[in-house]
Amino acid sequence: MVDHAQAATETPLRYTPLYDRHVALGARMVPFAGYSMPVQYEGIIAEHAHTRAAAGLFDVSHMGQAFLIGPDHDTTAAALERLVPADIRALGRGRQRYTQFLNPQGGILDDLMVSRSPDAADDGTLMLIVNAACKDDDFAHLEASLPAGVRLQRADDRALLALQGPKAVDVLVRLGADVADWPFMTASQATIAGIDCSVTRSGYTGEDGFEISVRNTNAVALWDALVADDDVKPIGLGARDSLRLEGGLCLYGHDIDQATTPVEANLLWSIQKRRREEGGFPGDHVIREQIANGAPRLRVGIRPEGRAPAREGTEILSRDGQPIGTVTSGGFGPTVNGPVAMGYVAAAHAAAGTPVTLMVRGKPLAAEVVALPFVPARFYRGR
């Protein structure tokens, strides 16, 4: 047993089933969303580059997993659709979809992935994956709104691993998983190194890859089998953040929160046509008005000139000096090999190519609004 020495925090830290593995690999552990998590192993830039070139293995077991269980798909989908703007009813068997829990003003309470089993025997069950920091609130919010006959079952007995990068599919095939032909956002079962897993072809790096849900009791064996592959290296939260930022993907609590709507966040693609027309989700009046008339501000990519990164909270000015917005994520993009950022600007300034000024440590820094993502996505769309 490892002695889980704890920092002097109010709430005791929690540990994923892979904590001992991270420590043995020399990871630097940091508190994150109440868990002790690896921020880096060999270094963020090397880990980032390895994920883009081969396959990176991430422990994301801190995230919330749960099953929503009802008598049939339409009933369960209708229960979830009361809280999210995606078309869940049209979600096919064996498919996954991205959506958001919304508040009555259309603000984002959390973002989540929803998947439907390929197996007809599981019809009426949806699997949800939510952010670690929000999971207790999310699940309480869900339970408070569920109709009779639909129940929430937390899956705290499950760990979550992500294998991301162009070699991820080869690694899983070598370990016996029949996943090569799955298109992006497939959700199904697979046996990896003899271990039964719930697997989706998705992730949060912009690369092809998989997220693998496994029983806690099998998590270490699965991790060991994956990390033993020559193409695989363990990757910490530091590179997870730089990868998702280059991928133009939102981090909850930074790029999206209760004060931002999916329309402002440029996530309109995740609200399908039927839901735009019918509404029936929290804040639908706000969101449909923004769809019709445009949102007052929009999330955009921002590329600072030169080498100096612009961090979260940096003020964005128009070139004539008027405040137009704020950076919500910013740092150094190892694949871009330069500073990259995302933020919100007034809609009039949101077109790609718009020159802006960032105030970094009291000094103006020239930058430009750019299209997202910074690094093109390489999802597998099928042959």
């Binding site: 270094g43 963020i44 830039i45 100096a308």
Partner: protein, 123 residues
């Protein structure tokens, strides 16, 4: 040449009344990959404990405080092109600034190498 250290993990190599200043190997390990260093202008007056430079890793920006008071006489311009030098050679080629001391008495408040290593061992 005498070498001194601070609890903020800076080193100073003092030659005559000029101190070459950088961050220690411990500091660069804590920061991780350095991607940008903002250096002061030559001629700037710095005060002990005041901001002298900013070092940015992938994750965050950190201030580097002047360990002594004086005037900046030189900066390591090579860090603009190769900020990773701070990771590779933090206590040699990865130096940040040279400061002409205005009060050599301030050196007496700094640690020597043995005291600094002992301090790091307590962290």
């Amino acid at each position: 040449m005498a070498k001194f250290f601070t609890k903020d993990h800076e080193w100073l190599s003092v030659d005559g009344n000029v101190a070459t200043v950088g961050i220690t190997d411990y500091a660069q390990q804590q920061l991780g990959d350095v991607v940008f260093v903002e250096l002061p202008e030559v001629g700037k007056a710095v005060t002990k404990g005041g901001e002298a430079a900013v070092v940015e890793s992938v994750k965050a920006a950190s201030e580097v405080y002047a360990p002594v008071s004086g005037t900046v006489t030189d900066v390591n311009a090579a860090l603009a092109e190769n900020p990773a030098t701070v990771n590779e050679a933090p206590e040699t080629e990865g130096w940040f600034v040279r400061i002409e001391l205005s009060d050599e008495g301030e050196l007496a408040e700094l640690m020597d190498e043995a005291a600094y290593r002992a301090y790091v061992d307590t962290l």
